[in-house]
Amino acid sequence: MSQQVWKLVIVAEEVLSKKLTKLIKEAGATGYTVNAAGGEGSRNVRSTGEPSVSHTLSNVKIEVLTGTRELADKITREIEKKYYADFSIITYIYQVEALRDHKF
């Protein structure tokens, strides 16, 4: 009833949100989940809590479930190539069990 899948998590600047989700879909993922995120990293505190006029300092957390490690790696490589140098962005991955199988 369940299936081992990979969960790729991307925490990035909100300005990248649309570009990243487009990239994820184009790479072949079936879907993704986006949350507002806040926190602190090497490029200062970034938060959704304070009133933020321009949204340039807000973050999003995007989660993607992929059936194969290759697909997750492909997405990560694309993101690395395009955005790692200039944007606040981190990616990490772990294995999870999807309870609705045959979806990925």
């Binding site: 600047e13 300005v15 990248l16 570009k19 200062n44 304070e50 009133p51 933020s52 006029v53 321009s54 949204h55 340039t56 300092l57 955005y83 140098a85 200039d86 944007f87």
Partner: protein, 333 residues
């Protein structure tokens, strides 16, 4: 001169400015006061919609050819501001050129809140202006952002030796699709094509000043918060952010006066042009620049614009240019 100072002081006591300073003070004191993001978004939409409607109704009842020269001036100013920043701020020691160009782009771009603040100021001082002058917003905003992104890209590709072609149309499209410009242009279109006077008189006009005062509190709080970011970058950004709005304002006011001599464009209209030039974008500009010049440090340009540029434009430039206009209209000897 004394009377000019009195008028200037009167402007400082205007509700617009009072609320802005109030916002700065409470945020500096660490107050927990928070105005939800969605309220902020709604208010800026409302204000720009109202300004757009006013402009649209005015265009419907005026000669559209009048707008040509002021619009051309707005485009020119938007472009020139970026180059001024490139060759002044960009030459200072320790300043990276892309940071300076992005800052110039943001200062060339236009702030909806500053635009919303100058119009009631002119009304209160009884300085007449063409209501369509608010429609000059995108004519300065878009060229400034496009120029900044192109200049930065050319500089970066020359430096790295990798020629990357800059696509201009996507930048224009993104600016036109931004919430601020969309609200304003939709207001203009509705003002021209429909007869919105009933909703305008009963809803948009009466609420305008109240919402504007809340927006000023938000801008003040934002300015105080961004101050921390600005402290982390070179002091030149703070110095630039203080001087640039005034210089840009005078540049635009001068051009506005030339058009005044040529075509009878009102002095109040020249004030609007000057304040649009003095303002720096706080809503739509930063995300466009963040995406368009990714290597520029957003703390530098957003800090410069929001923490210092906008307060200077509202607190100094608006009273200054309204005061000069009143003087020119012969109210002061």
């Amino acid at each position: 001169m004394n009377e000019f100072l009195t008028l200037f002081l009167q402007q400082l006591q205007s509700p617009t400015l009072g609320f802005l300073i109030g916002g700065i003070v409470v945020a500096s004191l660490g107050s927990q006061l928070a105005i939800p993001d969605s309220i902020y978004k709604f208010i800026s939409f409302f204000l720009l919609m109202k300004i757009g409607l006013t402009g649209g109704i005015a265009i419907r009842n005026s000669n559209p050819s009048e707008i040509f020269l002021p619009a051309l001036a707005a485009v020119l100013i938007g472009i020139v501001i970026v180059f001024i920043s490139r060759w002044t701020l960009g030459r200072m020691p320790g300043i990276k050129v892309p940071d300076a160009v992005a800052t110039g782009g943001l200062f060339g771009a236009v702030s909806g809140s500053t635009l919303a603040a100058v119009l009631p100021g002119l009304d209160a001082a009884k300085v007449p202006y063409e209501a369509w002058t608010a429609a000059l917003y995108p004519f300065m905003d878009i060229p400034a952002l496009v120029t900044a992104i192109v200049v930065a890209s050319v500089y970066i590709s020359k430096k790295t030796g990798q020629a990357e072609k800059v696509e201009i149309w996507p930048i224009i499209k993104e600016s036109l699709q931004s919430s601020a410009v969309t609200a304003l242009l939709m207001g203009v279109a509705l003002g021209i094509l429909t007869k919105p006077e009933p909703v305008y008189e009963s809803f948009f006009n009466p609420l305008f000043k109240g919402f504007l005062s809340i927006l000023m509190i938000i801008m003040g709080m934002e300015a105080a918060q961004r101050m921390n970011e600005l402290r982390k970058v070179a002091q030149w950004f703070a110095i630039y952010a203080f001087i640039a709005p005034i210089v840009h304002g005078f540049l635009a006011f001068g051009l506005g006066l030339i058009i005044h001599k040529l075509t009878g464009f009102s002095i109040g209209g020249a004030v609007v042009l000057a304040v649009i030039a003095a303002s720096s974008s706080d809503i739509s500009g930063p995300p466009t620049l963040r995406a368009g010049i990714p290597s520029a440090n957003p703390s530098a340009y957003i800090g410069a614009s929001t923490a210092i540029g906008t307060p200077v434009a509202i607190a100094i430039c608006i009273p200054l240019f309204i005061g000069i206009a009143e003087m020119m209209l012969g109210r002061i000897n």
